[in-house]
Amino acid sequence: MTTATVTGNRERESLGEFLLRAPAVGPALALIVAIVVFSLATDTFFDLDNLSTVVQQSLVVGTLALGQTLIILIAGIDLSNASSMVVATLVMAKLAAAGTNGFFALVVGLILTVVVGLFIGTLATRIKLPAFIITLGTFTGLTAVAKLIAGGQAVPVTDGLLQWLGTKRYLFGGIPITYGMTLALIMFLIVWYALTKTAWGKHVYAVGNAPESARLSGIKVNRTVISVYVVAGVCFGIAAWQALGRTPNADPNQFQLGNLDSITAVVLGGTSLFGGRGSVLGTLFGALVVAVLRSGLTQMGVDGNYQDLATGALLIVAVVVDRIARRQQQS
């Protein structure tokens, strides 16, 4: 009888319930639809080189979004991730320009973003400040730091190792793959594994769903929160490396909206802004959808303002789907 009821329920599983179980399905569908539409609408979009370019265009925001996913899963937010990354790019490029070993510069940049993560995580747990406020402050401060470091001059990237993620490439089935793409894939796999197969991952979801219950069941909530900001800091440092591989200069005026772009990718990827629900797979699709939209619409000759309009509309659709799914789960 019980079994029958369960089976009966499963047969009547609503779309909302299905999306709750597999939040990456929605963004995957959106991605496929966008690719098909642009491939039909233009004769230039469906081209192996172009598809590779689109992936490369989404690498920096995608890597930022990977860290942002972890933070949003614990119901936090990081408004300072892109500015932390930009500071790291400038520090790395300046060190390299001063003749420092590229590997050393890279390590310094990574330490920098990790320290920022540690700082945010510590304030969030020890003094119980909302992440929004802390990271609003670090965002403003780091943006200024970036401009002060640069002194108005973009820093050309000359070191081979710092450019390596963008310049080294190989062919896979005719598709040009950069080492940056490979590294991003590996990072997504690692974070996916950590989130779904390890105790740490279960703690992250538990803390995001209900921190008090997590604490009562013996999870060290503060330690989990700090670890998330630190791991995210590693992602932002890698994003800085990705950025140096992509663009020829470290420039304090670029990635001005990288923080919001990363949040867009996470939300489009089906991760709930209220924490506890979502996946890095969805984020991967979310970041790709934005890059595909930009590329396809530009090739169709659509004005930039309409591109932003389309991205905004898609974002609202994603949030509405999240809401409906939650409501159906509750009823």
């Binding site: 108005g152 001059q153 990635f255 530009t298 930039g304 303002n305």
Partner: protein
């Protein structure tokens, strides 16, 4: 534990103060001077105090004020577009009893009410770098004629094409901003096209962001690589566009022009990233603004209208019919010649 919390709170407070503070410079000469006493008291309001262009403008104004024995106080918005911050700056300066306000308005309309209040209080208001709409909302404007600057860029690119029909990609700045609109329109006039010309093979808006310019250019080049000219609204976007062209191996067949004249942009021209850039002169704007303020304090005479502080094409490949200077001159004079 409590001690640690306090330390952290102090840190937060330090960060907050560090980022919110915007007073950057002040030197008052004598004491108890009042407006109309013959001594100029000048207040400068720039868009931000981190952008090197406005730093150059501020330093030049400060130096000119010192040289002329004028009191000087500089304030800034916190970011480009911070109208509210600029309004507060104007109110503060009015309160301090300045007799001239020099302002680079964040938006051409956002601070008009505060400017009107200041003028009603008898203060001379001069717009530097960016005009207001309407232009007579201020007493006078000392700025680059951006339309003329764009036109020079267009004329250079046209001459460099040596009679070939343009096949043009355009990298615009922020859609709707007056500077962007003027440079865009000037460029098209200079090269002899209109917005509906079929010679324009595509355009992208990149908000002054190098990475967005690179991305937009990559997408445009997917559409067509049959191009011979590129418009870039400023130098960081020119660098992004160049990266995309280079990846496609197109740099040899394309003439790109840019505008701004920062030292780094001039170096880019020297290194061959783009054929030419059009230099503007913030130092002239600042110095002429200060001199006008000094004259107003002495004689009560106000400057009027739009004063073009000029723009100059910088290139190492001069074209007949397009007056220009080379990059050696450019590096000596970039944004006022401090380097």
């Amino acid at each position: 534990m409590r001690q640690r919390s306090l330390t952290a709170l102090a840190l937060v407070a330090a960060v907050a103060v560090g980022t919110a503070g915007c007073t950057v410079e002040r030197h008052w000469g004598g004491n108890s001077t009042t407006a109309g006493s013959g001594k100029a008291k000048i207040g400068l309001v720039t868009k931000t105090d981190t952008n090197p262009y406005f730093v150059e403008l501020r330093n030049s104004a400060s130096a000119a004020a010192r040289a002329n024995g004028a009191d000087f106080s500089a304030l800034a918005g916190q970011f480009d577009g911070d109208n509210d911050g600029q309004v507060r700056a104007i109110e503060n300066l009015t309160q301090q009893g300045v007799n001239t306000i020099l302002i680079t308005p964040s938006s051409s309309t956002g601070v008009l009410k505060a400017i009107k209040d200041a003028r009603d209080a008898g203060i001379l208001v001069i717009a530097l770098d960016t005009a207001t709409e309407p232009a007579d909302a201020v007493d006078a404007t000392f700025a680059t004629d951006n339309f003329a600057a764009g036109q020079q860029q267009g004329a250079y690119v046209k001459a460099a094409l040596a009679g070939a029909d343009p096949k043009l990609l355009m990298v615009d700045g922020t859609a709707g901003s007056s500077v962007d609109t003027e440079r865009h329109g000037g460029f098209l006039k200079g090269i002899g096209l209109t917005d509906s010309s079929p010679q324009i093979k595509g355009h992208t808006a990149a908000n002054g962001d190098q990475s967005l310019a690179q991305q937009g250019m990559e997408n445009l080049l997917q559409r067509t690589t049959d191009i011979n000219s590129v418009y870039s609204m400023n130098e960081p976007m020119g660098r992004g566009a160049y990266a995309a062209l280079k990846a496609r191996g197109l740099t040899g067949q394309v003439v790109m022009g840019s505008i701004d004249g920062g030292c780094e942009g001039v170096q880019n021209v020297k290194d061959g990233l783009y054929g030419a850039t059009v230099m503007q002169f913030p130092k002239k704007m600042a110095e002429q603004g200060v001199l006008a303020a000094v004259q107003y304090a002495k004689t009560g005479k106000k400057p009027t209208g739009f004063v073009n502080t000029g723009s100059t094409v910088i290139t190492d490949k001069p074209m007949p019919g397009v007056p220009s200077q080379n990059t050696t001159w450019g590096l000596q004079n970039c944004w006022g010649g401090t380097k």
